[in-house]
Symmetry: C2
Subunit: 336 residues, 2 copies
Amino acid sequence: RDGRITMAHGAGGKASRALVEGLVVPLLGDRAPATLSDAAELTVDGTRLAFTTDSFVVRPLSFPGGTIGELAVNGTVNDLAVSGARPLAVSLAMILEEGLPAEALEEQVRAIGAAASAAGVPVATGDTKVVERGKCDGMYLTTTGVGVLRADASLAPERVRPGDKVLVSGTIGDHGVAIMLARGGLDLEAEVRSDTRSLWPVVHALLDACGPEAHCLRDATRGGVATVLNEIAAAAEVGVLVAEDRLPVRPEVTGACEILGIDPLYVANEGKLVAFVAPEVADAALEAMRGVEAGADAAVIGEVRDEPPGRVLGRTAFGGHRIIDVLVGDPLPRIC
Amino acid sequence: RDGRITMAHGAGGKASRALVEGLVVPLLGDRAPATLSDAAELTVDGTRLAFTTDSFVVRPLSFPGGTIGELAVNGTVNDLAVSGARPLAVSLAMILEEGLPAEALEEQVRAIGAAASAAGVPVATGDTKVVERGKCDGMYLTTTGVGVLRADASLAPERVRPGDKVLVSGTIGDHGVAIMLARGGLDLEAEVRSDTRSLWPVVHALLDACGPEAHCLRDATRGGVATVLNEIAAAAEVGVLVAEDRLPVRPEVTGACEILGIDPLYVANEGKLVAFVAPEVADAALEAMRGVEAGADAAVIGEVRDEPPGRVLGRTAFGGHRIIDVLVGDPLPRIC
Ligand SMILES: Nc1ncnc2c1ncn2[C@@H]1O[C@H](COP(=O)(O)OP(=O)(O)OP(=O)(O)O)[C@@H](O)[C@H]1O
Ligand SMILES: Nc1ncnc2c1ncn2[C@@H]1O[C@H](COP(=O)(O)OP(=O)(O)OP(=O)(O)O)[C@@H](O)[C@H]1O
Ligand SMILES: [Mg+2]
Ligand SMILES: [Mg+2]
Ligand SMILES: [Mg+2]
Ligand SMILES: [Mg+2]
Ligand SMILES: [Mg+2]
Ligand SMILES: [Mg+2]
């Protein structure tokens, strides 16, 4: 472990994992999270709840296709959704920088209200703190969500097995590229919008179609689809083979990524999930996802193999193979 | 409303209220919190849950009697407790500043684990983000809690009525003064420690003793006991009379407050609650609180009157009266 915190520790890749697994979990002792999944499961009087939190520190605060406020609602709703839970309520904690214009706050609170409406979830409680000028970057938001697990949801990395099909719910890399472009300084005219949105409609349709034959879902946020695939491959001790020519990527995103020298597989999404389903239900899963707006561009992108355990392989359009490894940090800091 | 966010908006007094009631709630529209209480109530399959969140931005990160990590656990546990809910789980979202020494993080995570153990609550889920040097002040923490409401708890400001007795669970002003002294620069040698701790044992004992005759509880954090009394007086449209000579204040705190020119009634606490109970159960409530360690110095400090509605009056040792109003900001910024 390094002696100091670096940007890589917040990027969602190898360094983030190492910090959580190597420092946070051991030092929390018997109070640490039981599993390192998108949401924790809590049982109350026989009711199974999901519980999850995320902080948002994205800059700029508003960008094509979204705002920090929308990310904050949808990000937490999506960690509940991919756990198989209908979102019940979110909380909203704001850390504001002294001197922030009231209009900037108003814009974000309005966006939060709209995103909460769209996701069908109330903002049940909140908190507001202010720190001195220069001790924050406009505003940081933290949302926490509680959801009710569907009885037919049985989602866990350990349920993934050889033969399972791997799907994504739509085009990848949109969010991260939108942020990069919004930051400017790039000689690029492409119009790419963040994909921030609630994934609950996709999950709901998927579970209606597949029930417990849906084995594992995960939203592909920091670290992108490549990081999710690696986490599941490691946890399930399976190999994952990705047909790279089947990855849905917008041409503008492909173009921007080429210029930036990054791979869309590693770029953050804020409205896309990766699904591992039994092969018998793969067609039904694809159809179900495509039947809802948020899953219109869903695709089967690969399958689970016995070999090599814990590894993700990409098969290129020309039939060659490459290892799709997990990155230490992230090419794009403060993306969410 | 001001055109820009000021430190007062984060101080828990009049400006904080105005921001939440005048900006946040209207702009969240029908997604806004139903009540502005310590915790929201969620009902799932007939089970009544409490849900609450707080961010912590205190500086310094460690101080006599506590740390930001302990505040983060106990603060959220206490908002559940004063709602009448047994804490079930908390989440932990960390925003870290690039360059933070690993030992500083280790110290806080260890403190969080210890506080969670003491409060009997798991850290079920979390998140970790990193921002560039100078965009944070070491670390900011946000915790969110879920609790299970006791069936015999019926706590709300509207239940407070003339005749009710007002109690505090112990000495007031310790936390805020400990922070001030820890920041240094004061020619003061006093040893004052933060009172950060879980209040669930106090609430549990109180409810065992009083059940629904306990009308309203609130933890006296930012803005101190004076702010809590004003909020309840306003919400219940009653007057509150405080016998100032009955307020339990440590001599060191009284001394420090005199030098600082502040009133302990407005100083933040992190392990004290204010209770409004029916007069018939006041003695039982006092005895119950004193029977647990966290309530050893509990005292009856006043009573509820018809008049003047929405106002808090202090009766001094010499029989005079003064109005105890709510402050716009706070004499002590970033206290939690
Ligand atoms: N500070 C922390 N304390 C406790 N658990 C943590 C902490 N940070 C992360 N975790 C846990 O580590 C796991 C991975 O967290 P991570 O934030 O990467 O997941 P995510 O929220 O799904 O992704 P993203 O934050 O990119 O949306 C989760 O199970 C989370 O609960
Ligand atoms: N950003 C926000 N969004 C929604 N509700 C908010 C927000 N900030 C505060 N509130 C609500 O305003 C009320 C008062 O919040 P406040 O933070 O003062 O209470 P508290 O947590 O009990 O006190 P403290 O933060 O000092 O511990 C609560 O009901 C809270 O849910
Ligand atoms: Mg996730
Ligand atoms: Mg997330
Ligand atoms: Mg609060
Ligand atoms: Mg409170
Ligand atoms: Mg609080
Ligand atoms: Mg997260």
